[in-house]
Amino acid sequence: MRRKSVALAAVALVMSTTAGCASLQSPATEVGGERMTDDRPVRDGGTLTVALNADPDKLDPTLAQTLVGRTVFAGMCEKLYDIDEHGTVIPQLAAALPTTSKDGRTVTFGLRKGLRFSDGTKLDADAAVTSLLRHRDLAGTARATELAPLAGAEATGPYTVKLTLKQAYVPLTAVLADRAGMVMSPAALKKYGKKFTNHPSCVGPFKYVERVGGDRIVLAKDPRYYAADQVHLDKVIYKPIPDGNVRLANLRSGDIQVGDQMTPVDVRGALTEPGLQLFNSPSLGYQGIGLNVGNVKGLGEKPGRIDTPLAREPKVREAFELAIDRDLINKVVFQGMYEPACGPVSPESAIAPGVKASACPGRDVARAKRLLREAGVKTPVRIELKVSTTPESSRLGQVVQAMTKEAGFAVTLRPTEYATMLEETDSGHYDAFTSGWSGRLDPDGNIASFLRTRGAMNAYGLSDRAIDRLVERGRAEADPEERGKIYAELTRRANERRGLVYLYRQKNYVVAGKNVAGVRVFGDGLVRVTTAGYAR
């Protein structure tokens, strides 16, 4: 036992050393706390280049899927609602928060007056209705699930919209604070149809200028924007630079001014540079290990019985979780720069705070072994863990492999590229895989699609009536305190079933040149550049 612990510690030491020698020199306190903005005064003019970790997909709010795409939209497509630095929903294109009928099935909101799209046409209630219905109905829409409860939308006045719901749907306001709440110019939609993606026109501080696939997306200041006096930059250029080392080198050379989604290793490197500054905010998402507990026929199909010890025996899954040390994973793999997690909802959620890291179960190898004995399974329990091809994912897999070995598991790692992983996990051809979600404002966005029976992203094959009932109750319950209780119960139940073993929560790390101010990075992880500029 002692020898195994020493071996585990040695693996941890070697991995932390290879992960980044800088971590041994820089105390973690340098990146502790949160820093979401820099309010120094800025001068007018200039071009800001923001490096993204991937090329965004379609620049059409109805079809868009990626987090990097949301960052670009934050510069050119405002939403009915937005969030502030506390994660609280605030009106953006809407004039005020919506009012909801007593039965929760009618939602009404007003729009700000005098707004114009980048093509010069007027934003009114008809435009909002057109966009909402397009988000729900367009073939191939990516907003269908989140707007599924929407039965109808109508303009009841020039600036008033009434939404009719199939059932009470409290998460709607948070949904409208994301892409489903983006209002597109009806004139542009009519003119370009599905090619709107090449000519996007919304209300925003910047308007679309051009896109060169794989190279850049260029936005220019929109003089028609209702708060144009608060916009200082002339242009914003978004450049996809997938490699973290290259992003950091470009920050250091001054070729880019903002680096989005920096990894802990890159952040450590950035901290040694006097000309760079760090923004960070807690993520609303989660990361963990998905376990196949009933996905026999594929996503959306009826879950069934899988005859592996992991799927068959809840005690085996519990033992697997007890063999894992979340704190050590955070320290070894992520240099202590993320947060251990054991639930789908962030403790920072302003709507229904989730389980705090301190409440997560600790590692208990003795109990894990006992559970395996009680389950009567043959040890070692063999599990194939699919990990993505990023260095962080590989290191996570190696640490999990070393930890669980001690308890009686034999984990083999299979690095799998993204698209293949998606196909294999959706079709149920896996034991376990590294699974994560960037997070949504409302807890429902982190839960319903993943944990509900036949949910749109329930690749685990999880099916639990109690969870299904709690999801529905959470959606219908308007009282924040009651909602909090429902999601606490949901988390407890999900952790009992263990379709997904939650491990850690990332932080949104953004590095910028010190000559840049006014950038904002909130819990949704988007880089907001509306008020950004070069410091005076």
Binding site: Q65, N198, D426
Partner: protein
């Protein structure tokens, strides 16, 4: 009737050996291109990972997937898909990127000049440095100049591209900011800025090729310098410059041009890593992005164009051969 047939018979055209050789090679190249397009098309579809799933993202219900497959024609028979692709490709329409919604032809048109410029600069560097160093190494055999050239060639061959790129960025874009670390500006728009951004990538990509060219030139030159015709040239009293430049080098170039032709194709495909390091929006970057997102339309467009480039380069190399060595031309004509 027979008379009219005789009248309609085309008058046989006597082609010169060079034209005949060229036509044969062009015909062979077109057949190769069609075969390559079939292999590429089938090969891409054999990749694991469903493009509809990659596109669907958060909406992976059977209905959503069916809508995506119908939209992009992914549920059609592969032969139908190929027919549609090739039919459109002939008219210059390579489809629309399933990821970005941008026309593939536009993406390729934007990426092609970047990679071609990078390849051309790298080739220039490789030719100038490689052939120069190769001649010096052969002529100064057994002396420090040869050891230095060999050491540089070994370095050029063994240093990993990614490492060399990062070191050059650290040295010449950060510590000594002479060059730019990333991005592309067309030469026509701003020549100095273009070169500021392209020199480091060209050095990274061209260093390996320069090493290969140097070694080939050195070996070929050593053979030539010990050949009878060079001894004869010397005996005739030709100057050292004429012996090396006109006789030895010209004969050595057949081997070197062969290597360059083969390596030029590698330059285009090998630009992948260099383009990632220097964030150049070229073919390599386009290909990688398309592979990871299962963007079939972009991927098959890019691979088809790259294959066409390979075939064209091979054709040009063959033509260059025939110009350098007339025996090849005549042999081809027969």
């Amino acid at each position: 009737m027979s008379l009219s047939l005789k009248t309609a018979r085309p008058v046989p055209v006597r082609l010169s050996p060079m034209t005949s050789y060229l036509l044969t090679r062009i015909r062979q190249s077109l057949i190769t291109l069609v075969l390559v397009s079939m292999v590429v098309f089938a090969g891409i579809r054999a990749l694991p990972g469903d493009p509809a799933l990659a596109l669907a993202g958060e909406e992976r219900s059977p209905a959503a997937l069916a809508a995506i497959r119908a939209d992009y024609g992914l549920d059609d028979n592969i032969a139908v898909q190929y027919g549609r692709f090739i039919g459109h490709a002939i008219t210059g329409d390579l489809g629309t990127s399933s990821r970005t919604g941008l026309p593939v032809a536009d993406a390729i048109t934007a990426a092609l000049p970047v990679t071609l410029e990078l390849a051309a600069l790298s080739l220039l560097l490789a030719v100038v440095v490689g052939i120069g160093a190769g001649i010096v190494a052969a002529v100064r055999r057994g002396r420090p100049e040869e050891w230095l050239a060999n050491a540089l060639a070994l370095l050029g061959l063994s240093v990993p591209t990614f490492w060399l790129g990062m070191v050059l960025v650290l040295g010449f874009a950060i510590a000594l900011p002479v060059f730019s670390a990333s991005g592309y500006v067309p030469f026509a728009a701003d020549p100095p800025d273009n070169l500021r951004r392209m020199v480091l990538p060209a050095v990274v990509l061209g260093s390996g090729l320069a090493a290969v060219v140097m070694r080939q030139t050195r070996a070929a030159m050593l053979d030539s310098l010990s050949a009878d015709y060079v001894r004869t040239a010397r005996a005739k009293g030709l100057s050292r410059r004429e012996v090396i430049g006109t006789h030895a080098l010209r004969n050595s170039l057949v081997t070197v041009v062969t290597v360059l032709g083969l390596q030029l194709g590698h330059l285009i495909s090998g630009a992948v890593v260099t383009e990632q390091i220097f964030v150049l929006p070229g073919f390599g970057k386009l290909t990688i992005d398309a592979v990871f997102t299962r963007d079939y339309a972009t991927l098959q467009g890019v691979v088809l164009c790259t294959s066409a480039a390979y075939i064209l380069i091979n054709l040009l190399v063959d033509v260059a051969y025939s110009l350098i060595d007339p025996r090849i031309r005549l042999g081809g004509a027969r």
